[in-house]
């Protein structure tokens, strides 16, 4: 459970920093009026939608932190064999990076009002996402063909579950992407869609980040660290 506690620590630091600016030391029973009190620490500067997305990402982050916690806990058992990682995963990862870069590019050009580039970047980003999903399915197929099915080894069970849940989040992202793309291909000025594109891009960057961490854990690059933690707890 070390991983999820570390995650919570990060959340607590962010929440604590924010709370420290909210005047928790003030004496509300002595303060009447609306003058100074509203300035600075009244509301956060973010828009509602963006804040909502950040809160949601914190929830998703906690979800994945818990899954990885389970992974790490299970790794300590003797029957654990890391799943061999098919090379195709690197292609898929590259597609995910590409999607992230393109969405960022779409955001920049939407801010400038460059409709054609925004459309192109968004469309190709979507293709990359579908490519990623298809690639993941092929990876599953390759592993199953090699006799490494869901129940072959606990590491495999985790591999399928983690990639599956990550994929579901990509599918959810594609719904948002679809709505954004439809709006951008509509008649309204592209500047009106900046918030939407920004939120989609943020979500994509986040899923890329999660995927990078998952890869590090599943490739076994973090094994030494994990063993150290498990030793500490034993």
């Amino acid at each position: 459970m070390i991983i999820v506690l570390l995650f919570l620590l990060v959340v607590a630091v962010i929440a604590g920093r924010w709370l420290s600016r909210q005047g928790l030391m003030s004496q509300p029973w002595l303060e009447v009026g609306v003058g100074d009190i509203t300035e600075g620490r009244d509301r956060t500067a973010l828009s509602g939608a963006k804040l909502g997305l950040f809160v949601f990402l914190a929830v998703v982050g906690g979800f994945f932190a818990l899954l990885v916690s389970g992974y790490v806990m299970r790794m300590g058992y003797p029957d654990w064999r890391n799943t061999p990682m098919p090379p195709l995963l690197w292609v898929n990862s590259a597609l995910l990076v590409m999607g992230s870069v393109l969405l960022h590019n779409a955001l920049l050009s939407a801010r400038k009002g460059d409709r054609a580039t925004t459309r192109l970047a968004l469309a190709v980003a979507g293709v990359a996402a579908f490519g990623f999903l298809a690639g993941q399915l092929v990876v599953w197929q390759q592993l199953t063909d090699a006799g490494l099915g869901l129940t072959a080894n606990p590491a495999n069970s985790f591999f399928y579950m983690l990639t599956g849940i990550h994929g579901l989040h990509i599918v959810g992202g594609l719904v948002a992407w679809g709505r954004t793309t439809l709006a951008v291909f509509g008649d309204h000025p592209v500047e009106q869609q900046v918030t939407r594109i920004e939120l989609s891009a943020l979500y994509w960057h986040f899923l890329l980040f999660v995927w990078a961490l998952l890869m590090v854990v599943m490739l076994g690059w973090a094994d030494d660290l994990v063993n150290m933690c498990n030793q500490l707890l034993r």
């Binding site: 928790l24 509300p28 029973w29």
Partner: protein, 591 residues
């Protein structure tokens, strides 16, 4: 407070907060069924929770029937008893208490109390309710699948939860249960996003965090905790569903069942316990914190006195919220954990008693020399304080490893958690319903029926759960449908059990009276004044009473003061509403 501020406040434009575009219902369906108005959603949540809560009540009757008078009802088989225990616990903890406090009170109170027109994401808010409703339906459906609902205990510990020896384990019961939980969590996440973002973004001008009523602080902190804790249950449910349906072995060790080796192997049941309690313990405070907050407001309003130590109350809420994430393994002392872990978790468990005790002192000190009106909300609030102290004290015993190990899995534990997170929060829920019913319906609940409801519930719960501590201390294990012949259990325990059952039936009937009161008062209740309790908080200051769609008419309120200005010396009335600029300019300064 300097005069400059007061003067400046006179000509402040009301709505510097961007006014939201309201959704307008076009038909009966979008107005009452698929409504996006937080107030309607609140009623939908509460109504659904009450309905499924009634199922839990009936199940508790059946359990008490079996325990008090074994053999009297022969349709209660051992399997059925396990199913009753499981579903009763699950409904009460997740589908009733969590849903009523966050989905019900959260939806109703947050927008009104912070001075917003509605939640920030009304559409997602509506989806949240319908996911919750679907989760409840799935739970109900599990009663009718072959094999019936799961009987694994509300903790659903593997491996037994998905083995054929447990009711519903090899059938669809456990699958429906897990699916229902997954849907509930997805729905809750949607609602939780709304509660958190609305408190952060939707506040009216002048409503600083330190001017929020404690109800909102409690619900807000509990929502944040729930958003972080429920994913643990989601992970546990998903992994168990994998084990049950796809044959993985996340939680399943090598097993021999009926002389046959199962295909499972190598999984860790302890991992499930960690995940489950990583959700389960914060869950206790997810239910308790809104209760803490609401009861603070009830006590202050009905004792006509400022809350004692507002800042401490806020800090204690935040402190409890944080600490509750590092105490989970005190539910696992008997799982064979490293003794140093036990030491660590016992210590954190005792530390969390400090902010909790601060809150209890502050409630009592709020009452001290207050002008206590023994209204029904006040009666329930007082009952909450004593019940919570009682339940909390046994919690200190159970938090210590050496005391917990012999008491683990006895009726003592059952009595403890029913007092502290069953009866105590329900007292607040009842008090809050009597308090806010006029705000929702424009009518008062009948007082005579209310008094009957209160006294039978309060005295009755003590008659149920006080003797249960003794039953546990003698060594009667929990989850046993019958005592059987045990040398260490005296015969008198059976008498006590019958007595507890009779008390439980009486308390249950008092709840029927309450439901009758709620329904009949809709039409026949006394018409409420605009602000019947003379409360300061914003939900009583809306232009229309009960508040209409959009809450605030043309202009959003401006908040000038904190929510506890009761009995201010020199003020015209014994309360000053939060949106009242007050006497101008100097007379208002308090030192």
């Amino acid at each position: 407070m300097d005069e400059a501020n007061i003067r400046a406040s006179k000509d402040i434009p009301p709505a510097e907060v961007a006014d939201v575009e309201l959704y307008h219902a076009k038909s009966f369906w979008t107005k009452y069924v698929f409504s996006q108005d937080a107030k309607v959603i609140a009623i939908q949540y509460s109504g659904t929770a009450a309905a499924i809560g009634f199922v839990a009540l009936v199940l508790s009757w059946l359990m008490r029937l079996q325990l008090g008078f074994p053999g009297l009802a022969d349709f209660i088989t051992i399997e059925a008893y396990y199913q009753f225990v499981t579903i009763h616990g699950m409904i009460m903890v997740v589908y009733l208490l969590t849903a009523v406090f966050l989905g019900g009170f959260g939806n109703y109170l947050i927008p009104l109390m912070v001075g917003a027109r509605d939640m920030v994401f009304p559409y997602i808010n509506m989806l949240s309710f319908w996911f919750y409703f679907l989760a409840v339906v799935l739970l109900v459906v599990s009663f009718f699948v072959p094999g019936g609902p799961t009987g694994a205990g509300w903790t659903l510990y593997p491996p037994q939860a998905i083995l054929s020896g447990t009711p519903g384990g090899s059938g669809a019961g456990i699958i429906m249960m897990l699916l229902s939980l997954i849907v509930f969590i997805i729905g809750f996440t949607m609602g939780g996003l709304n509660y958190v973002v609305t408190v952060l973004q939707g506040r009216a001008r002048g409503m600083t965090l330190m001017r929020l009523p404690l109800s909102v602080w409690g619900i807000f902190t509990a929502s944040v905790m729930a958003l972080l804790a429920f994913p643990a249950l989601l992970v546990a449910s998903v992994m168990m569903l994998f084990d049950r349906l796809l044959g993985t072995s996340f939680f399943m060790p090598t097993l021999i069942e009926m002389g046959e080796q199962l295909s499972y192997g190598g999984g860790s049941p302890i991992m499930f316990q960690h995940l489950f309690w990583f959700f389960g313990h914060p869950e206790v405070y997810i239910v308790a914190l809104p209760a803490f907050g609401i009861v603070s407001d009830l006590l202050s309003t009905h004792a006509r006195k400022t809350i004692f130590g507002y800042r401490m109350m806020v800090w204690a809420i935040i402190g409890i919220g944080g600490l509750s994430f590092i105490v989970w393994a005190h539910h696992m002392y008997v799982s064979g954990m490293n003794p140093y872990f036990g030491f660590f978790f016992a210590t954190t468990t005792l530390i969390i008693a400090v902010p909790t005790a601060i809150k209890v002192y502050n409630w009592v000190l709020t009452l001290w020399r207050g002008d206590i009106h023994l209204t029904i909300p006040m009666l329930f609030s007082l009952a909450f304080i004593v019940t919570f102290v009682n339940g909390g004290l046994t919690g200190l015993f159970l938090g210590n490893v050496v005391v917990d190990v012999p008491l683990s899995d006895t009726m003592f534990v059952v009595a403890h958690f029913h007092m502290v997170m069953g009866v105590a929060p329900l007292m607040v829920i009842f008090g809050a319903i009597y308090h806010w019913y006029p705000n929702v319906t424009g009518r008062m609940l009948d007082e005579a029926m209310g008094k009957w409801h209160f006294w039978v519930t309060f005295v009755g719960s003590y008659l149920i759960f006080f003797p249960m501590h003794y039953v546990g201390l003698v060594g009667v294990p929990r989850r046993y449908p019958e005592l059987g012949d045990s040398a260490f259990i005296p015969d008198s325990v059976q008498m006590l059990n019958s007595f507890i059952s009779l008390a439980a039936f009486a308390v249950g009937f008092a709840q029927l009276l309450f439901i009758y009161n709620v329904i009949t008062s809709l039409r026949r209740g006394k018409i409420a004044e605009k602000n019947p309790w003379r409360a300061t908080t914003l939900e009583w200051q809306t232009p229309d009473m009960p508040p209409t769609h959009g809450n605030w008419g043309d202009e959003l309120p401006v908040v000038y003061r904190w929510p506890y200005d009761y009995s201010v010396p020199g003020a015209a009335e014994d309360f000053i509403a939060q949106n009242d600029p007050g006497p101008q300019p100097a007379g208002e300064t308090k030192t």
